[in-house]
């Protein structure tokens, strides 16, 4: 055969486990036998072997089921078990997984227990709304238990260790035997009459189910229920659950635990007080700091630190508006000026002044021209005249006289030639400044005269 044909152990085991799973009889089995090799594991699970003369089977009771146990499983105990059988693959074993377990022999007590439990439950005695709160800082603690035995010691040492502030009142109480039930009831009532305690611890140390039985009695349950002082029940070990536990205001698994539940821990309180104190410091300091910061922030805020910034926008706006206004005014002014100038020049154009001035100028020009022309004319006439005069003067025969020439007349006839003269003739010589009458002496013709 090839290697592939061989099953792995795991596969085989799984196959076997499936057979167990599939079998309806193995899913719920009722089996009785004797306990042996009982191991109470710290995880809360219980491991044991269930056996009788012919056979044995490994059994496991998991914590969830084990906590519901009303007794402590012990070596050699005859028990009735409800559970299922299955394979534990890791070890390749089959096991009985226990759901419920009841000890044989005291089955009647269990019946009674269950009946009372049922009854009180139906009456509502276990309801959470009846549970009275345990005071946080009890000043007086009543303890109802036997003055002998471990329970009272455990309770007192625990109370002392945790919370020496509280005063402890012990009501010596019978916790087993025939007188236990009435004594427990009586002491619960006494403590309520005394009314000095803030909380009661009612209980006892571990023992057989018969030992603890008083705490399963109806009278005790009703006394606990009727107590106006909150009650912490502490009966036996963790695994023992009594009716008293159901009806008590708080259930403690052990007497030591009851003492722990009854009071706060002094060391924790110390710590708590210190914590509160430092919290006070911190909170108030933080608040002060926060307020200071807030103040600083406000002081540094710009409205307070730079008030001018507050109205700066307005200043800016004002400046803007002013500028705008000026601009607008200028524009307007310019427009108006332009318009005015336009109109003005229009008017100006049509003004008679201009015409007048023009005419005046023209007149002036004309006048000047006239004056100039006249002057020119006069000057010219004058010059002409002078020139004429000069010409005339130049032409004036007499004028020569001034230069020394003389004009000679004969018979009032100006002589122009020597031939016209004859000796003896009388001549009149005209000088420029007078006349001379002269007689001719001799005539000399021209060539001879020279």
């Amino acid at each position: 055969m090839s290697s592939a044909s061989y099953l792995t152990v795991k596969a085989l085991t799984k196959y076997i486990k499936r057979k167990f799973d599939a079998d309806p009889h193995l899913r719920e089995v009722y089996v009785k036998g004797e306990l042996s090799n009982v191991k109470l594991h710290q995880s809360g699970h219980i491991y044991f072997t269930l056996k009788d003369d012919g056979a044995r089977i490994a059994a496991t009771m998991f914590k969830t089921a084990a906590t519901k146990l009303a007794f402590e499983p012990k070596e050699g105990m005859q028990v009735f078990i409800r559970g299922d059988v299955n394979v534990y693959e890791g070890y390749g074993t089959y096991q009985l997984y226990v759901q419920e377990m009841q000890p044989d022999g005291i089955g009647s007590l269990f019946v009674a227990f269950n009946q009372l439990k049922e009854q009180l439950q139906q009456e509502g005695l276990f309801k959470p709304e009846w549970k009275q709160p345990i005071p946080r800082f009890p000043e007086k603690i009543g303890v109802l238990t036997s003055t002998t035995g471990a329970a009272i010691r455990d309770i007192c040492t625990t109370l002392k260790r945790r919370y020496p502030l509280a005063e402890v009142f012990i009501y010596p109480t019978l916790v087993q035997g025939a007188q236990a039930t009435p004594n427990i009831v009586q002491n619960i009532e006494r403590a309520n009459i005394d009314a000095s305690c803030d909380v009661l611890i009612v209980g006892r140390g571990g023992g057989s189910i018969e030992d603890l039985w008083a705490f399963n009695e109806e009278a005790v349950a009703r006394a606990i229920f009727g107590s106006r002082i909150p009650i912490i029940s502490a009966v036996g070990h963790e695994t023992d659950t009594t009716i008293a536990d159901y009806v008590a205001d708080l259930r403690a698994p052990t007497p030591t635990a009851a003492a722990e539940m009854a009071v706060p821990d002094q060391q924790e309180l110390f710590q708590r007080v210190l914590t509160q104190k430092s919290q006070l410091h911190q909170i108030v300091r933080a608040q002060l700091m926060a307020e200071r910061q807030r103040l600083n922030k406000l002081q540094q805020s710009y409205p307070l630190s730079m008030p001018e910034r507050l109205y700066r926008p307005f200043t800016e706006r004002l400046a803007q508006l002013e500028t705008g206004l000026q601009k607008a005014m200028q524009v307007d002014l310019m427009k108006k000026t332009a318009r005015f100038q336009q109109l003005h020049s229009a008017v100006e154009q049509h003004s008679p002044k201009k015409a007048l001035a023009f005419h005046q100028r023209e007149l002036e020009t004309h006048f000047q021209q006239l004056t100039r022309a006249a002057t020119h004319y006069v000057t010219k006439q004058k010059q002409q005249f002078e020139a004429t005069v000069r010409t005339l003067e130049a032409l004036n025969p007499l004028a020569i006289l001034t230069r020394g020439f003389t004009v000679a007349y004969k018979d009032n006839q100006m002589l122009k030639s020597a031939v016209d003269v004859k000796p003896q003739d009388q001549l009149t010589l005209s000088f420029h400044d007078g006349k001379v009458i002269a007689d001719v002496v001799k005539i000399l013709p021209k060539n001879e005269g020279e």
Binding site: P135, R136, F137, P138, E139, G142, T147, T148, I152, R153, I155, C156, T157, L159, K160, Y163, P164, L165, A166, E167, V168, F169, I170, Y171, P172, R190, A191, D194, Q266, L269, F270, R272, V273, L274, Q276, K277, Q279, L280, I283, V284, Q287, L288, E291
Partner: protein, 77 residues
Amino acid sequence: MAEKQQTFADAMTALEEIVRQLEQGDVPLENAIDLYKQGMELSQFCHSKLQHAEEQLISIVQETGETTAFDPLKGEN
């Protein structure tokens, strides 16, 4: 303010209430400072209560109603 006959429980509860109030943070500063003072007194009070409670009083309540001292380590005398 702390009364003379104040119990530890009252003081502790008051202290916790003060811290709770302050933790909420809506207490005006003046009140906060008052609360702080009260809180400090209370914490002082609680602290000294805890410190001085060294010996626990344990007594037996007899059937007659009388109380007698009890030492749990020795058992009933």
